[in-house]
């Protein structure tokens, strides 16, 4: 998978409550959730995000609640990939399972600035900051995780395994 878009740069410990506040969890409709994505962290995000954009953040992205509404909202808002120094465990799982591309790459996060154009080859793990011309390599996924991603998420992998 290859992506190219504008970087939206955030700090550490971006929690799932600011990704999608619980006041909107009385629905699971992706389009509805997308309208409020990152609302309590960056009110402007929803109005400025373009399809294909990229979120770049420091450590522990997605900490807090297990709500799958968080990766769903990010994806439905048009973001293809999140690059962070590290991800909170449940968010990491949820992203793999639901097919939101994530990459761990502290060097890239340090180098990318708000508004940079970034291109990503998720399969090769290569991140290029087109604005500065720098290239980075993300941590590769273990083969088992790769298998889930390649199957198109955990549901498809489970279906294949069960012969459904």
């Amino acid at each position: 998978m290859k992506f190219k878009g504008t970087a939206h740069r955030y700090g550490r410990d971006v929690d799932t409550d600011v990704i999608i506040p619980a006041r909107y969890l009385n629905t699971s409709d992706p389009a509805e959730l997308a309208k409020h994505c990152l609302e309590d962290l960056d009110k402007e995000f929803v109005s400025k995000v373009q399809p294909g954009d990229i979120i770049v953040a420091d450590e522990n992205f997605g900490c807090g609640s297990s709500r799958e509404h968080a990766p769903i909202a990010i994806k439905a808002a048009g973001v293809d990939v999140v690059i962070a120094k590290s991800f909170a465990r449940i968010f990491y799982r949820n992203s793999i399972n639901t097919g939101l591309a994530i990459m761990e790459c502290p060097e890239a996060v340090d180098a990318i600035s708000q508004g940079d154009t970034v291109s990503v080859d998720a399969d090769a793990g290569v991140i290029v900051d087109e604005t500065t011309g720098q290239t980075f390599t993300a941590q590769p996924f273990p083969p088992f995780i790769k298998e889930i991603i390649e199957a198109g998420g955990l549901i498809n992998r489970t279906k294949a395994k069960l012969g459904k």
Binding site: G64, S66, T158, K164
Partner: protein, 422 residues
Amino acid sequence: MARPMTMAEKILAAHAGLEEVEPGQLIECDLDLVLSNDVTAPIAIKEFEKIGTGTVFDPTKIALVPDHYVPNKDIKSAEQAKIVRDFAKKQGITHYYEVGCMGVEHALLPEQGVVGAGDLIIGADSHTCTYGALGAFATGVGSTDAGVGYATGKAWFKVPESILFNIEGELAPGVVGKDVILHIIGMIGVDGALYQAMEFTGSAIKSMSMEERMSISNMAIEAGGKAGLIEVDDITRAYLDGRTERPYTEYHPDADAVYAKVYDIDAADIVPTVSFPHLPSNTRPAAEARDIRIDQAVIGSCTNGRIEDMRQAAEVLRGRTVHPDVRCIVIPATQLVYRQCMEEGLTDVFLDANCAVSTPTCGPCLGGYMGILAAGERAIATTNRNFVGRMGDPTSEVYLSSPAVAAASAVLGHIGLPEDLD
């Protein structure tokens, strides 16, 4: 002879059908219970239906607890709860809890004997780690993992490294399990145990009630932990015996088990603690927070809504009234706790103190309903998270504390300690 293992490693190995596992290993395990609630189950059900098995793997091993927006907050929440109810009926789910029987899930399931030592549990709720206090490996997952769990009774895990917290000595009077876990999170940070299993031990833990232990394990996730385990002892057995609906298994850590890190903590160093906005790790001694005026106090939740928490709050509130500028909301976490509060006269104490006493719900903890904060308002809460906007407006603030500190603060009108009341 298997390699020496921690509690987490032993439980995971047993459920993967392996003699031994080691950190980093990816394994597939059989689950004893798959839990979800009215927020996470609707998505899990949708994902489950895509798989195409038609029926769940075992209707006795799925728990559906509508507790977040239930009793229904609004029409949308009512629709969500109805999806869960209809699914439970269609699939013959034995552990579905309707309004009137339900409670806050992580208080309810241990109380009802649905979870026990040695279990491997996934829950589509991050505070599923609470059951580690019973000697189970329990971890929060998302809805898709839960949906696959409904269909197959299995989940994939990366075996985590374990870190040991050895808390030795006696806690000072007025210092409780909540203070211990806030102290630890303050010490290691909100990602201090990321991807790792936390194991709590030492004489301070071994002399603690199950309620306090559950408060500690409950907040393992607030340090990024995958699980928060406590070894089974006589106190655990006294709680589980005659309560669990299935036989339970004890897994004790080997003496030479390998821990990624060991923290030795002197219990005497722990004081009544408050987490300031906007992270649970932003801790300070409650005694240094007296200048923080509050508009609301919330006593309840999966962290501190059990009977002992109610007793500690009532002891402070007895014969006193809540400050006129404060709304104090008390939420016993289950119907049984609610009834115990009535039988022990605690409900009268709360009502006499001008507290609002609610039927069980997660409501205000996640900013759902039943106590939402206006712009700029501040709450002290016995809950588990104080992120931006957690209890209402993004400019409101949440301070986390023990039940006694929350109750004292409700009377004082600012953060304070029970001894400030005399």
